[in-house]
Structures are given as structure tokens and as C-alpha cells.
Amino acid sequence: MGSEIAGIIGRRILVALPLILLVSLLVFVVLRLIPSDPLAMAVPPNATKADIEAMRKEMGLDLPILEQYVIWLGQLFQGNFGRSIAFGQPVIKLIGQSLPATIELVLISAILATVIGIAGGMIMFRLRGSFGEQVADASSTLMMSVPDFLWGLFLILIFGVAFNLLPFSGRLPPGVAQPNVTGFLLLDSILTGRFGTLFSALEFMILPSVALALGTAPLVMRVLRSSLMEVINEDYITMARMRGVPERRVIIRHAFKNAFLPTLTLMGVQFTFLFGGTLLIEVIYSYPGLGNMMVEAVRNTDLPIIQGAALIYALAVLGINLLVDISYVMLNPKLRRAR
């Protein structure tokens, strides 16, 4: 199985490289074609025309777009993402400081979405044909219809303001210091043995991650239920029942295992959307991640950050797809043999 997985990774990377180049080219060209001059925010209002032209030259914005792209790409290969216009600092440093927060948020949301989605799917399947199924169906439709940022505001109003139960801005309460080893707050709290900080950080992540998960979980529920409906009439299920295997065991050990594969594919797609969802959720929850920084960069027309962050998002999507592919091979023996 190890060589099969290595093969998948190799093939994926081969496909990913030209894809990343294409994405980077698209992002670069589109950002330069929008009718907004990045220098507008880079120079002070009282800058003279000469100042502006000097700055344009310094930033290389006077060169043809393709030439600018080649220079930018060359710098990328040396690990240089450029310097932020607004912050005046290297983009790679800024991304490095904010990306771990986003990864942690997406991971927690993905875990929540998986748990809610699988549990909900199983419950919906169990309730099939009953009034309860209709209620569950309507609930999942409602969950899906509300966009994640609206869930975000709604959860703040309910759990943050009305019941005053959960925090909803930032990552830690005032007075709690943030340990820094790897940049990942949850991991660093564990590594430094600060479990109080860990619980605080998790508490601050409840509302934003639930807001993100609520958009993803209903789809998982529905696909899992449909898949279970399909496999439940298969011969091997009938055989298992005839052998006297208890119904719960039939569903979990036999039906679920096969119904989960299409669900996994969907989860892969949905989890890439979680990254997109962080843009607004991070702003609403004042969460210091890449999404928050990206929104600010767009407001400031901070091209170096937008380019760098867009590339990171593309890499994240490709990475998640790769993980889904690997999981697929690990879970599906037929696929392993076919390869």
C-alpha cells in the first residue's frame, strides 16, 4: 500500500505543478487588470507625481505585466513573496504568522462537520420513513440555506450576547499569554503543557468553527443517508442479516463502510470550501488568520499579500485533494487492486 500511496503523491504533484503555475499566472494578471492602482494606497495623499512614478518604478509596476510576473515567479522560487504595501514587511513572514491560525480553525471545523455530518446522516437513515426524517430533512435544508457568515452573526447573538456563554472575538481572553513554539496555538499549548491556554483557545474556537461546520455538515448528512439507502438493499447486507448479524452491526460494519466512500469525496470538496469560508468568519470573529489578513489586503489593494495568500489557498485546496485521494485508496481495497 505504501508504494501505491507514494505513486499517488508523485502523480498528484506532477499534475499540481503546472496547475499552481496557472493559478499564479491567473491571480497575477487579474490583479493587475482590475481598475485600481495599487500605488493609491502605497503613497501618502500628498505625494507628488514624481514621488509616485519613483515608487512605481521601485515596485516594478512600470514593467509589462508578463515581465513583472516572471520577476515575481523568480522571487517566489527563492522564497520571496515580496513586501506588503500596508505592513511594510515580508509577505512570507506575515503569511507564516497568520496561516497556522486558519489551518487550526479549518481543521476543527472539518472535524466538527465530519462528526455532525456522519452522526446526522446515520440518524436520518435510522429515521427513514418516519416523521422524524422529515424534521431532520427540514433541519438540514435550513442549515444549508443559511450562509456561514450569517450563522456566525446568529451564533454570536445567541451564545455570545443573549446567553453570554461563549467568547467570540480573538483567540484568547485578555491576560492569557500565547505560547509560541510552532505558531500553532493549540499545538504549542500542548507542547508547553499549558492546558488552561489550550481549553481557552478551544473555547474561543467553538463559535467560528461551528459557524463554518454548519454549512458543510448537512451535505455530508444527506449524501451519507442517500448512500446508505443505496447499499442497504445490496445482497451482502441481506446475507449479513440472514446470518443473524444484529442490525446496528450490519449498518456500522457493512453498510457504512461502503456508503462512506462517496461521502468522503464530497467531504474533500466541502473542506476546500471551508478555507474560502474563513475569509468572512475570521473578520466577524476577529480571528487573526489568513482570511482576515486577505480581506484587509483586498481593502488596501495590497497586491503582494493578495497574490501570496491566493497562492497559499490554491496549495491548500490541492493538498486537501491529495489527502482525500490517499484516504480513498486506504479505505477502498478494490481501488488498491485496480491500481
Binding site: S36, D37, L39, A40, M41, P44, P45, N46, A47, K49, D51, I52, A86, F87, G88, Q89, L94, Q97, S98, L153, I156, L157, G160, V161, N164, L165, L166, P167, F168, S169, G170, R171, L172, P173, P174, G175, A177, Q178, F199, S200, E203, I206, V283, I284, Y285, S286, Y287, P288, N292, M293, E296, R299, T301
Partner: protein, 508 residues
């Protein structure tokens, strides 16, 4: 028995869970010598001289000192400089530094730091907006560790006002030379009332009172600033008691929260104006059309609809309480007169004139709504408007290329209240802020930039502001308002320029 045990365990878990989530509930009010503030923007850089961004001055003023500062009523008062005297020719400033000022690392503040801030950084090629303000500094003559003379190429009548304005701070020479601009921008030290002890970008800033601060020791020893950009989230944070103070919340929310006993909500006008920047050509070439456009706007109605009536209608670009304000002058709302003026120019409701108007959307409260309301008011008298939304920063790009439409909805912040930074900057034809390029007004403005005598200068600006309004060179709309909602237990000092300075606050 089993049932009872299970129930007890469940209750225990539920209780423990609740205790866990409720633990930080009262963090905001926990200690009476600390305060939690919800702030709307991340500083982006801790170099206070880098950008002339009005929104960040309050945060910078907590950590750094300005040479001069302002009282709540806008009066210019000594800051880090005990005194600053502009010479009669306006070409030199004799300054005296406080002899009990220290940097947060314990080093003493000296005139070497002043020379470095005013000239050294320029020579070192630092890309800071401060340099553009003081580009005509030729020399800083150090006379002693506390005395120096700043020499200028040409007169700068507003030099003292600028010392209390945007990007004007004194920074530590020794520290900047040691850690570099980038190091300073992320881990700053200043000489202000608080020192930075923790900064998490886009999340929070923790400040602690500096025990060697030269000025009054802050009653509040610890400040936590939560960066909460979303106005709804700021409202939720202050309403839930998780923060003690939230500025710039929507007007309606401030009015709603004001009714709660534990909170105080205030809406008050500040030294910021909303206006229409006007072109002197194209469809606005005719003076009658420009004045008609002015008379057709019901500013009181705009104030009531969008700012709870708190925004003061203006006829010149100098709000009440500032030196350049002219009390008895008004361009009234008079749609009938607007139609008469338009008729003189050959237009009217049956034969409307078409103009372009640019506006921001979301840069200042209700900007786009105000623009739409003006479009509707103009339509009634015979002015059709093509409304275009532009991004912040686009104004200068369009103005540089002479591509602004006839009118642009604009906001202008001037913490000092000085008329040069209002009428002067907004109508100086050579500056990028002004859309007005006609020299009839422009020549008078430019002349005033070299008048050093304060009284003469202010009197001349008053005359000029009235003249410009009568010419239709500008259409001032409203004095902007700010909103603050805070814990009723806090004594908050209200600054007329909107500054939020917790060093002046205390708990009741």
C-alpha cells in the same frame, strides 16, 4: 440507584461545561485598573511616523509622544516638547524638550532623538509620511540635551499645529538604529504613557502603564485592545460585557445601547467634515449650477436620517469649535432658489442637466446612502446624476489624472481644527486633495500658506471659506459624528477630534 448516579454525573458534566464556558465572562470588568477596548483596525505598523492615518492616532498616542498635543477642546498644548515657538518669519522653531522624559527601555529622551526624527530618518531614506510633511527641514541645531532649533527652507505657518497632527511623533534613535525599521515596526518602544507588552496582529494589543512616564500617571494600568473590525461584532462585544469600550458603532446601535443602565452610549460631532468636492469645469463650469446644487441639499434631513440628528449641517469646511468657523454664514436649503439658479443657466426639472458624482461605499458611516439621498434631492430641482462608487485611494488616482466627476462625496479629518488643514488643503489647486483647480479661489488659498501671523491667517481663512462657498467651489455637508458605547462605570474624557485616550480615563 443507577439512574440517580447517571443523572448526577450528567448534571456534574453539564455544570463543569457551563463553568468552563462561563469562566472568562467577566474578564472585561475583572480588575478596576484595567480596561478592554474593542478597536476597529489593526495598526499594521508600529512605526507611528509611517502613515498619516487618522484612525490610528489614538493607539499611537497611547505608546508614543507627539512633540505637541491637544486638549479635549482641540487647543494645542505642550506634549513631549515643553515649548515650541515659531519664529516671526516662520522659518525656524525653537523647541525645549521635557527633561524628565524616558523611553520605555529606561533611556532618556534627548534632542538627539528630536534631530533623528525630524532629519535623521529623512537622511537615512526611511519611507515615512512624516518626511513629506517636513521635507523643508534643513537642519536641527542641537543646543543642549533639551534645547534645539529646527530650521526650515520656507515658512511653515502651521508648524506647531503639525507637531500635534498625523504621523508627528518622536521616536528613539538608539533603538531604531539597533533593531532597524522592521524590528521597530513590530516591537516598538516609545515614551508615551503605556508600553506594548503583547501584540498579536489582527487580534489584540496589550499595554501596560509606563512607570517613568513624564506626564500624569494613568489611573488605568492595563489596556487590552481587541481588534474587532466588524461593527456588529463590536456592538455584541460591548453589549455582552466582554469589552468595556467600543468606538464607531452604528448610530442606531449607540442609541439602543444607551437605554441600558450598565452602558453609556454617546454620539457627538468631531473635527471631521463630510463634503462634496467640486470641479470648476465640465457641467459645473457655470457658477449658478454649482450653487443650485448646494441649495438643493437638505443637510438637516441627511443628519436626521443617517446620524440621529447629531451631525451639524455646514456651509463652510470648518465645523463649530474650530478657529476657522464662521458663525453667521449659511447657504440654506432652498429648492426654489436652486431651481431659479438652474433656470439662469438654462436648466430645470423639464430640461435637466446631467452631472457625474463619485462616492465611497463603506469608508465612513452611511456614505453611499448619503450619496443616493443627494442624487434624489438634485433630481427634484433638475439635476440628473450618474453615481459611481469608487474605492478608497481611488480619489487621488482620479484627481491626479483629472478624471474626477463634477462632484465627489468625500470626508476630511483634521484633528487640529486649523483652517489650513480644512479650507487650505481642500481648495489648494496644487495639492492632490483638491478637486477645485480654478485660480480665482486657488490663488487666495496659496497666498495664505505663507502667512505666519496667526490672527491674520485665521481671519483671512474665514473670509476665504465664505468666498469659496459663495463661489460654489465646495459644498460642505455635515460635521461628522463619532459614536462610543462604554461601561457606565468608566469616566471617559471626550475629545472633540474623536481621540480615544484611555490614559485620561478612570473607573468611578
Amino acid at each position: 440507584m443507577n439512574r440517580t448516579t447517571s443523572l448526577t454525573r450528567r448534571l456534574f458534566l453539564a455544570g463543569a461545561g457551563l463553568a468552563l464556558v462561563a469562566a472568562p465572562l467577566s474578564t472585561a470588568q475583572a480588575a478596576k485598573d484595567s480596561v478592554v477596548i474593542a478597536w476597529q483596525a489593526d495598526p499594521q505598523t508600529w512605526d507611528p511616523m509611517r502613515r498619516t492615518n487618522p484612525g490610528l492616532q489614538s493607539i499611537y498616542k497611547m505608546v508614543f509622544d507627539q512633540p505637541m498635543t491637544q486638549a479635549p477642546d482641540l487647543k494645542i498644548i505642550p506634549g513631549l516638547f515643553k515649548s515650541a515657538v515659531l519664529s516671526e518669519d516662520g522659518k525656524s522653531i525653537a523647541i525645549e524638550l521635557r527633561d524628565n522624559a524616558y523611553w520605555h527601555d529606561g533611556e532618556k529622551v534627548t534632542t538627539a532623538d528630536v534631530a533623528y526624527s525630524f532629519l535623521g530618518r529623512m537622511k537615512a531614506g526611511h519611507k515615512i509620511d512624516f518626511v513629506r510633511v517636513w521635507r523643508n527641514v534643513t537642519e536641527v541645531e542641537i543646543q543642549s540635551p533639551t534645547k534645539a532649533v529646527i530650521k526650515l527652507k520656507s515658512p511653515m505657518p502651521t508648524a506647531i499645529q503639525w507637531m500635534a497632527f498625523l504621523a508627528n511623533y518622536i521616536v528613539p534613535k538608539h533603538y531604531l538604529e539597533k533593531v532597524g525599521v522592521e524590528g521597530f515596526s513590530t516591537k516598538p518602544i516609545g515614551s508615551g504613557p503605556y508600553k506594548v507588552v503583547d501584540y498579536q496582529r489582527n487580534s489584540r494589543i496589550v499595554l501596560e502603564a509606563f512607570d517613568k512616564y513624564w506626564g500624569p500617571k494613568p489611573a488605568i494600568k492595563k489596556i487590552t485592545i481587541q481588534i474587532i473590525k466588524d461593527p456588529s461584532a463590536r456592538v455584541a462585544a460591548v453589549q455582552s460585557g466582554r469589552v468595556d469600550f467600543a468606538p464607531d458603532v452604528p448610530v442606531r446601535e449607540a442609541q439602543r445601547l444607551e437605554k441600558r443602565k450598565e452602558l453609556t452610549g454617546v454620539i457627538f460631532p468631531i473635527s471631521r467634515v463630510m463634503l462634496l468636492q467640486i470641479r470648476s469645469d465640465q457641467a459645473f463650469k457655470d457658477h449658478n449650477v454649482r450653487l443650485a446644487a448646494h441649495h438643493a441639499i437638505n443637510k438637516q434631513a441627511l443628519s436626521r436620517a443617517f446620524y440621529g440628528g447629531a451631525a451639524v449641517p455646514l456651509s463652510i469646511v470648518a465645523p463649530p469649535g474650530t478657529p476657522g468657523y464662521v458663525k453667521d454664514f449659511e447657504i440654506p436649503y432652498d429648492p426654489k432658489k436652486a431651481m431659479e439658479l438652474l433656470a439662469k443657466a438654462g436648466y430645470g426639472p423639464k430640461k435637466p442637466i446631467t452631472i457625474g458624482m463619485a462616492t465611497y461605499n463603506g469608508v465612513f458611516p452611511s456614505d453611499y446612502d448619503i450619496a443616493r439621498a443627494i442624487v434624489a434631492m438634485w433630481k427634484k430641482v433638475g439635476i440628473n446624476t450618474k453615481l459611481e462608487v469608487i474605492e478608497q485611494g481611488k480619489y487621488f488616482e482620479l484627481n491626479r489624472g483629472n478624471k474626477l466627476p463634477e462632484a465627489t462625496l468625500y470626508t476630511w479629518d483634521n484633528a487640529t481644527g486649523d483652517p489650513e488643514m480644512f479650507t487650505g488643503y481642500l481648495l489648494h489647486p496644487k495639492l492632490p486633495f483638491s478637486a477645485w483647480k480654478d485660480m480665482k479661489v486657488g490663488a487666495r488659498v496659496m497666498k495664505l500658506f505663507s502667512v505666519v501671523d496667526y490672527d491674520k491667517r485665521i481671519a483671512a481663512y474665514k473670509e476665504l471659506s465664505v468666498f469659496a462657498a459663495k463661489e460654489g467651489a465646495t459644498i460642505p455637508l455635515l460635521q461628522a459624528v463619532t459614536t462610543q458605547v462604554y461601561n457606565s462605570g468608566l469616566n471617559v474624557v471626550r475629545y472633540k477630534n474623536g481621540w480615544v485616550l484611555p490614559q485620561t480615563w478612570s473607573w468611578k
